[in-house]
Every structure is written in C-alpha cells, then in structure tokens.
Amino acid sequence: MRERHLPLPDAVPLAHALASRVAERDGCKALFIKGHVAEAYELRRHRVSSDVDVWLSPDDFECYLDALHSLGWTERQLRPAPRILALHSTTMIHESWPCDIDVHRAFPGMLAEPQDAFDHLWRHRSQVEVAGTMIPACDRMGTAVVTALHALRDMHVERNRVEFDYLTKVLRESVGSTDSARLVEIASAVGAAQTLEPLFRALRIEAPDPPSDPVYLHRWHDWEWRRKNNNPTSRWLREAVRRPYRNVPARLWRAVILPGDLFRQLYPEVGPRRRDMWAARGRRIGRGLSALPGVVGVAWTSYRSGRQGGPST
C-alpha cells in the first residue's frame, strides 16, 4: 500500500491527533481550540478547517515547538510587517501534510497574562473526540469564549459575523444560569470582560467589571485599535506612535519610505528596476494617505474609549 495524497478534510482531524500525541509524549500542556472543538460542542456549523489550532501553556511553548521540529515540522516564515497585537502564534508546516499546525502562546482578546488565562482554562479542561482519539480542549463555555473572541477580532469579515450570530443563537437557546455564571467567571479570569461585551449584550448577561490597571488598559486599547482598524496604514501608524515618543518622527519616516530591502520583502511582486520601486512606493503612499483620516478617527475614538474603560461599537 502506498501513501497517497491526503485530502484536507481528513488531514486536519488527523493532525489534531498527531499534535495531541506530541504534547502528551513530551508532557506539554495543550488545549485544542476553534474548528473541530467548536463543532464538537455544536458552537459552530461544520466547515472544512485549513489548520489545527493548539494553545500551549506559555511554559511549554518552546519545548513543544522543539518537539514538532524534531518530527520535521518547520515554522512558516512571515513577512516582516508591523502588527498591532503581539504575535500570538507560530504556524508550523510539514512537506507531507496539506494543513498547518497553528501553535498559540496566547489568545487575542484575552487581556490577562497569557499564563494566567491558559491556567484557568486548563484547570477546567475537557476532552473531545477527533479522528477517533480523545484530545484535550477547553470546556464548552471556554470554547464559546474562544469562538466569540475569534469572531469579534475581525467582524468586518462576513464569515465571522455569521459565526458570531450562530454562536449567540446557540447559546441563547442552551445557556442556563450555571453556564452564564461560568461565562462571567471565564471572562474575569482571562481578562475578557470588555472584549466579550458584545457577547454578554447579545445574551443579556451582565458583564463583569474590567480591571483598571494600566497594562490592561493598554492591551484593551490595542485590541480596539486592531479590531476597528486592521489595515496596513493603521498597523504602520500604531507601530510608529509608541514609546519612546522622541523616536516617533524617525519611525513615521521609516513607515512612509520603507528601506529598500524591507520593501522588496513586503512587495515581492514589484519589478526589479528602481523606477518600479519608486512607482510602487508612490502608490503605497497614496493608499496610506487616503486611509489616514479614517484610521486617525477610529484610533482617537478607541483611545478615548480605552481611557474611559468602556467599549465603543
């Protein structure tokens, strides 16, 4: 019998089993999230996923990546573009597998310390069946929180709006007082009191009070900026306007006139001649200027919202 082309709908559940076994073998704490887990809890309609999402205890993150490396998985190289939210995962690929394994060290929208957030969900973990094996996962309400935050981060994407609506519909029909209390408990523990506000509003559950410490507020501000402003202009502006402020002019200049090598990495499709590059630079600056008023407006709104400690929709 020969090894044949592995179809994606089969590859993803098998890769869950593989990733789970690797974690178990090396004693790494891992929780599977999103896709198959959300479907197992009937919190998402079925659709073919393109990757495995596994959230590692931050303590075990590097050890787990090493374990995958030893089995021939390598990190997918990212383009060196700025980000608003810190990079929360590493994508691992393998030449024999048509799907990725996305290894998370944190989850966007959970504004508590990643270790604290993970530990809470780990203490309440459950198991779901995937590809005939049992894999560790968040409990049902933990999975609901993950599913909601994943959708809420990019609500301009129609699929996310549809999945959020589906999630809220299912929860409205199935959540009792115990589940409601659990949702509030999770939101408090993982720092999602504000980021989950649309879910609480949809379920008519009173959201817990958010923390008031500056680190939390800064993360909340980043979340709001990213949620409302996920475009290149916004990302470059966010990258430039940060402490130390004396370096802001230099960072702004760099953001506008990218160094040649970085420009080539970000825009590999641009032709080899200098005038190709300058023409592409001109188009990029034009796009940036046209997006700037909207970016500044939304950024100011979210900044004020963050200072006032409440979400703006």
């Binding site: 019998m1 089969d10 590859a11 559940p13 098998l14 593989l18 030893s70 089995l71 005939g132």
Partner: protein
C-alpha cells in the same frame, strides 16, 4: 488496492484481524485515512495512509475482528467478483497492513 505485495511469512489465512490499537482515523463513505500514532513515540512523524475502493471496504470490515474468508466473501458479494479471484489480493493487502502495523491478529 494498488501496490500490493504477496504476503510475507505471516499466515494471513488463520485467525481474525482487526485495526491495531493507537491509530487515528477518519472514515468517510468512500475512503479511510489512517495515522499510526505509535510512530511519534519512536521519534518519527507518521505518514498518513489513504485507502479507497476495495481497500477502504476492507478497512471498514476490520473495525471488528474479521477473518480472511469473511473479508473475501463480503468483497465478493459487494463487487460481484468470484471469491477465488479475490483471495490472493486481499491476503496480500492484509499482509501489507500487518507489515506497516495498521492491523493486528486476534487469535
């Protein structure tokens, strides 16, 4: 069932066969994809196997203990092929599954 070899020294005809323990598998109507998780414990990334057609039918039969003669009879009826024409190739297929560790004998 392409790529079948003749059965090795293992006597396929005696006893019954079943899926090995510690496999991950996804079975749909027309194919089965299988992964041997024990290979991870031995430090290698397991390669998934995909079975279609008669191979998939045999794999489905092997979800419970099944003798070679049971398999030959079932495939013969399903595919309307004489049992004598199937016996050797199915035995070779089981031998291959045994060699790569996807089935075990239940005596």
């Amino acid at each position: 069932m392409s790529g079948m070899n003749s059965p090795d020294r293992v006597d396929i005809t005696s006893g019954r066969w079943v899926h090995a323990a510690d496999l991950a598998q996804v079975c749909t109507e027309d194919r089965s994809s299988v992964l041997d998780l024990r290979q991870i414990d031995h430090g290698t990334c397991p390669s998934p196997y995909v079975m279609e057609g008669a191979g998939h039918r045999i794999w489905t039969l092997l979800s419970g203990p099944c003798s070679l003669s049971d398999m030959v009879r079932a495939i013969s009826e399903a595919c309307e092929i004489a049992e004598d024409d199937l016996s050797e190739s199915i035995a070779a297929f089981i031998g291959e599954l045994d060699r790569i560790g996807l089935v075990s004998r239940v005596d």
